[in-house]
Symmetry: C2
Subunit: 238 residues, 2 copies
DNA sequence: GCATAATATTGATACAGATCATTTCTTCTA
DNA sequence: TAGAAGAAATGATCTGTATCAATATTATGC
C-alpha cells in the first residue's frame, strides 16, 4: 500500500510540531494526512501556482526555498516574499479565490500540498486547528510588516543589512546567535524584493564587507559583527 | 438599563455585515455583543495601544481613521498602515502576545474594542466565526502585500499614484469609479508610510496635478483620469 | 477676526543610486 | 577538464530625491 505510506508521512515529519498537524489531536492525525499530498518535488524555476488563477491550495515548504512574485500589466515582476522550511505559501489568496501572486521554486525543493476546502472542514471540526490558523496568520502578518519596515529604510546598505538580519532570524530561529546564512536567491531576486538595482545590491554587499560586519563566499554569508550590522540597518529609516 | 443598550448595539450597526458579528448566527448575536465595548471615542493623536505592551484587544474602526507605526531603537517612526471604517486593528499581534506597533487616531474617531480571549472562545464555538476570521486575515495579508508592492515602486510620483489608487479602492469599495477621496493623514504620515521625504510628497502631488490626473484642494483629492494615474503608477517598478 | 502656530509648498544644492558598459567570477555541460 | 553561458562585481556617468532654507497656506486659540 504505497499510497498509505505517503499520506501517513506527517506523523514522522520533522516539521510536524510547527506545521498544521500540531493543531490536531494525535488520535485524529489520520484525518489530516488524508488531505495532504506530501513531499512533492520541485526543481529550480518550477511553478507552484500562477498569478490570477483559481486559488485552491496551501503549500508547506519542507526543504528548499520558494519565492512569490507579483507581475503588473507592464510585465515588471516584484518579488514579494521568500519562503523557507516550515513556511506556508498561499495564505493571502484564501479569501479571494484567486491567486494574487505566482510562486516559484528558487532551488530544488520539497513541499506538501493541502487543499483549502477539506482543510476548512477540518478547521470547523477541530477548534485547536482554528486556533493554530489564527496564530499562523497572525505571524504571517507580522512577517510582512517586518518586510514592509525593511522596504521603508532608505539607504541601500541599510536595507540590505536589515534584510540579512531578518533572514537570519527566520533561518536560525532556534539559535539566534548562529551567524552563518545561505542566501538561496539570486541577486536579481534580492534586488527586486528590496526595491533596488542589482548592481546596488552588489555594491552594498561590498560596503557591508568593508565595514567588517559580514564575510561572503558566493551565496554563503557569515555575520561577524551582528551589533554593527544592526547599527547600519538603523541608519536613515523614516 | 443603559449598559444593555450599549452592548446590544451591534445588531443595528451599519458595519455589522462586514464586521465580526456577520460570523455569528443572529440568534446568538447577544453572545458577541457581550464581549464588545462599542463606540469608544478618540480624538486626533489619541493612542489605541502602544508598541511593546501586552496585546489584548482588537479594534474595529467605526468612523474616522487610525494609523499604526513602528518605532525603532533610534526613535525613528515608520507608519506601517492606515485604518478606515470597517478595518480591524491589532490582527498581527494576536499570536505573539505583545503589540508590534502603536496605533494612533489621525482624526476624531469611533472604534469598538474586542478582547482576544473571549473572542477566541466564541470562535471555537461558532465555526462560521472561524471561517470569517480566516477570511479577514487573508484579506489583511492581501492588503499588506499591496502596500509592500507599492513601496517597491521606485519613482516618487509613481509610488504616490499607486498609493492613491489603493486608497481609493479601499475607501470606495462599493462604487469603484467614485473619484473623490479624502486623505485623512498628514503629509508627514504619508511620507513616512511611502518611504519618501515630505517635500517629495508635495512635489509628487504637483506632478500628478500637472499631468492632469488629479485635482487637489487641501486634503481632498479628485481623480480626474484614473487610467492615466494607473499608467504613472506602473512606471519604473521592479 | 486676528495673531500665532502648525502644516504644506517651493527653491537651490549635493549626493546616493539607477543606468549602461565592462570585467571577473561561478556554474553547468559536453 | 575545457569551454560556454550565466551570474555577480566593478567602473563611469547622469538623473532623482534628500536635505536645508525660505515662503505660502491652512488650522487653532484668544
Amino acid at each position: 500500500m504505497p499510497d498509505k505510506k505517503i499520506t501517513a508521512d506527517c506523523s514522522s515529519c520533522t516539521l510536524a510540531k510547527r506545521c498544521l498537524p500540531s493543531g490536531i489531536p494525535v488520535t485524529d492525525l489520520y484525518r489530516f494526512t488524508n488531505i495532504v499530498s506530501t513531499n512533492q518535488t520541485f526543481s529550480t524555476g518550477d511553478v507552484l501556482f500562477k498569478q490570477g488563477v483559481k486559488a485552491a491550495n496551501l503549500y508547506v515548504v519542507k526543504t528548499g526555498a520558494f519565492k512569490t512574485q507579483i507581475i503588473n500589466q507592464f510585465g515588471d515582476a516584484h518579488v514579494s516574499g521568500f519562503y523557507l522550511s516550515g513556511d506556508i505559501i498561499g495564505l493571502e489568496s484564501m479569501a479571494g479565490g484567486v491567486t494574487l501572486n505566482s510562486s516559484i521554486a528558487i532551488e530544488p525543493s520539497l513541499a506538501c500540498k493541502i487543499s483549502y476546502r477539506p482543510l476548512a472542514l477540518l478547521r470547523r471540526e477541530f477548534p485547536s486547528l482554528s486556533d493554530l490558523a489564527v496564530k499562523i496568520y497572525s505571524q504571517a502578518l507580522a512577517t510582512t510588516q517586518d518586510t514592509q519596515n525593511c522596504l521603508s529604510i532608505h539607504s541601500a546598505p541599510s536595507r540590505l543589512a536589515q534584510f540579512l538580519i531578518l533572514f537570519s532570524q527566520r533561518t536560525n530561529q532556534l539559535s539566534y546567535q548562529q551567524s552563518d546564512l545561505h542566501l538561496n536567491m539570486s541577486r536579481q531576486d534580492m534586488a527586486s524584493h528590496l526595491g533596488i538595482a542589482v548592481e546596488t545590491v552588489s555594491r552594498s554587499f561590498t560596503k557591508l564587507i568593508d565595514s567588517g560586519c559580514i564575510t561572503k563566499t558566493g551565496r554563503l554569508i557569515q555575520i561577524i559583527d551582528r551589533t554593527g550590522l544592526e547599527k547600519i540597518a538603523q541608519c536613515s529609516s523614516y
